[in-house]
Amino acid sequence: MNLSRYIPEFACLLLFTFFSSLWVNSLKEDKTTSEKLRPLLALEKLIPQHEVELLNANFSDQLHYDQLAQLQSEVEALVFDVNVGDTAEQLFKDYKETSLSYIQLTSMLKTSQRLISENVRSENTQLMNVSDNIRLEMFSFISTPDKTDKATLIKLLNSFEIDREQQSNWRYLQLVKLHSLFILDNYELTATYRRKLIGMPVIEAIVQERALLQRQIRRTDIKRFVGIFGSVSGLVLLFIVVIKRHEYALKETSEQHKEFATSLMNMLGPHAGKVQVELAQDNDNKDRPIQIRRRT
């Protein structure tokens, strides 16, 4: 058998295989891209909620942080899942760490400020003057941190001798001293974290990554379309080839039959006049293309 006769069929089948594989491949790609997109879309929704909850944490009516913690673990799980570029990944990590540091300090600052503003009365007026003075300085620091001389204030606080034997309210003095020092140490740092969190282009990074994936999805869509179109074309072409081959075969047989009829007539020679050969040209009679009738 001469296989090279069937090259058109082989070509069509090859075309079909190639394009249908492309189609299947695009389906798979589509799935992986959507799977990559899912955590990104979820993050895009959760991060603003998380940020609001985080920045609200320093309000005095925020008494517990369950909601924030819940969002924090959801965000962390998603950040663990997403597959993004190095810069975006670093940004997410940075956001996560900064928010964890921020909440530690901001929650404690709230308590420290409350504790030093509580009024405690004492008979020792000199002591009360000192502590009132410190509290005033502290409030001025909190309202305008950059205008206050922090170093002098820290020095003043550290020089503050606490004598458990002599001072009846040493507990209170120690409390004021330690919490004032804590505030001085961490107030500006907390504000820096806060500014950093607000300014962090996390959402922008997510939107960028999402746009990248969506462009990829569009490319995959085109690929799928080409795949479907190509494989259907391959099959249609195959169909045409088969039909053509069929037609060709028919024509060939009818040629053969014609030849046969002519040679038959030649063979009959002298009786030719008595025999009428009708050649059926139409396809309806293809079973019996030649009818021989005897004239009477």
Partner: protein, 335 residues
């Protein structure tokens, strides 16, 4: 000749379709994620820093039973000597009562075993919060050579050879004993280990007689002195990191373990730990990450001084300790 031609053609089409079809099945194989029925807690919100533990829970009890069996089987350890419950005694506070835990071959760990009760309400797991979820945490003890010293391959082999476990797994999931199913079972069991209805919860939900007068004084100090800065929410802790020694120095016995710093190496993480839950704290002595303190009054004094810069008068220490006893309750029954 004709029939021959058509048969070859049809065979050709079949053979060529097999290529994309097999590609399709190959790519589809790994991504069959089974839909899970997640545990649902019915939270009750109240105003204030401490929140009650949900009294109602919807959970897949078949997975709970399997998880419980896994929790108590020694098959998860390398030499079949210890189980999760060796270090986490669920009926006795959820920890082991030792300063630091003892694993296989009597090897001593470095940290105190925390309670597993209510651990599903923690935002991260372990003292330094290095595991972000309960399912994440499980490979921790399983792989830690000091704790159980085993590996997933070994565990899966042992459980598959066990008649009870291989049947139990198969009845819940056609894939049988797999790493995912082991983790799912233990996690679901841990999610069922919650302790609602403690006196503090009943008090928060409106029963004013649930706390004694001393405990109510303790609650007042606990809130006013600022313990609820860190120990708040449903778990009275467990929802943030904090530095041990926030405003003041810490005792030498607690200074060696640097906590989160050991993972991140960042200065601001020095001595930072996950704030532990104070639920059932009266039943989980000894205290702190290394179990260095064996009584509650001492733990309270250390906390007040290191975290809040306050030397508490004895009376207040006693009141707060009385309150801490009101944080205990029994594990909820799931049918």
């Amino acid at each position: 000749m004709h029939t021959h031609y058509y048969i070859s053609l049809i065979l050709g089409i079949f053979a060529c379709s097999a290529v994309p079809l097999s590609l399709y099945y190959l790519s589809n194989e790994q991504s069959t994620i089974q839909a899970e029925q997640a545990t649902v807690y019915h939270f009750e919100k109240v105003s204030g820093a401490i929140q009650p533990i949900p009294r109602q829970i919807e959970i897949d009890t078949r997975w709970v039973s399997l998880g419980k069996a896994l929790f108590i089987t020694p098959l998860l350890s390398k030499n079949n000597t210890i189980s999760c419950s060796s270090c986490h005694l669920v009926d006795f506070g959820g920890d082991d009562g030792f300063p630091v835990s003892t694993g296989i071959d009597n090897a001593e760990g470095e940290r105190n075993s925390p309670t597993v009760l209510n651990s599903s309400f923690n935002f991260r797991q372990f003292w330094d919060g290095r595991a972000s979820s309960l399912s994440d945490q499980i490979s921790g003890p399983v792989h830690n050579p000091v704790e159980m010293g085993s590996s997933w391959a070994e565990i899966i082999k042992k459980l598959s050879a066990d008649i009870y476990f291989s049947r139990a797994f198969l009845s819940l999931d056609p894939h049988g004993v797999t790493r995912e199913n082991i983790v799912k079972a233990i996690t679901t069991y841990e999610e069922s280990l919650i302790t609602p209805d403690a006196p503090i919860d009943r008090y928060l939900l409106g029963d004013n007689t649930a706390l004694t007068e001393q405990q109510q004084r303790g609650l007042h100090h606990f809130i006013n002195h600022g313990c609820t800065t860190c120990h708040q929410g449903i778990n009275i802790g467990g929802n943030m990191y904090q530095k041990l020694g926030r405003v003041n120095t810490i005792p030498d016995i607690l200074i060696k373990d640097l906590g989160k710093y050991q993972i991140t190496k960042k200065e601001q993480d020095r001595n930072v730990f996950k704030v532990p839950s104070l639920r059932n704290v009266a039943d989980t002595s000894p205290y702190f990450h290394n179990g260095a303190v064996d009584n509650l009054p001492q733990a309270v004094r250390i906390m007040a001084s290191a975290q809040l810069g306050r030397e508490l008068p004895e009376q207040e220490v006693e009141d707060i300790v009385a309150l801490l006893h009101a944080f205990s309750s029994k594990v909820i029954e799931v049918q």
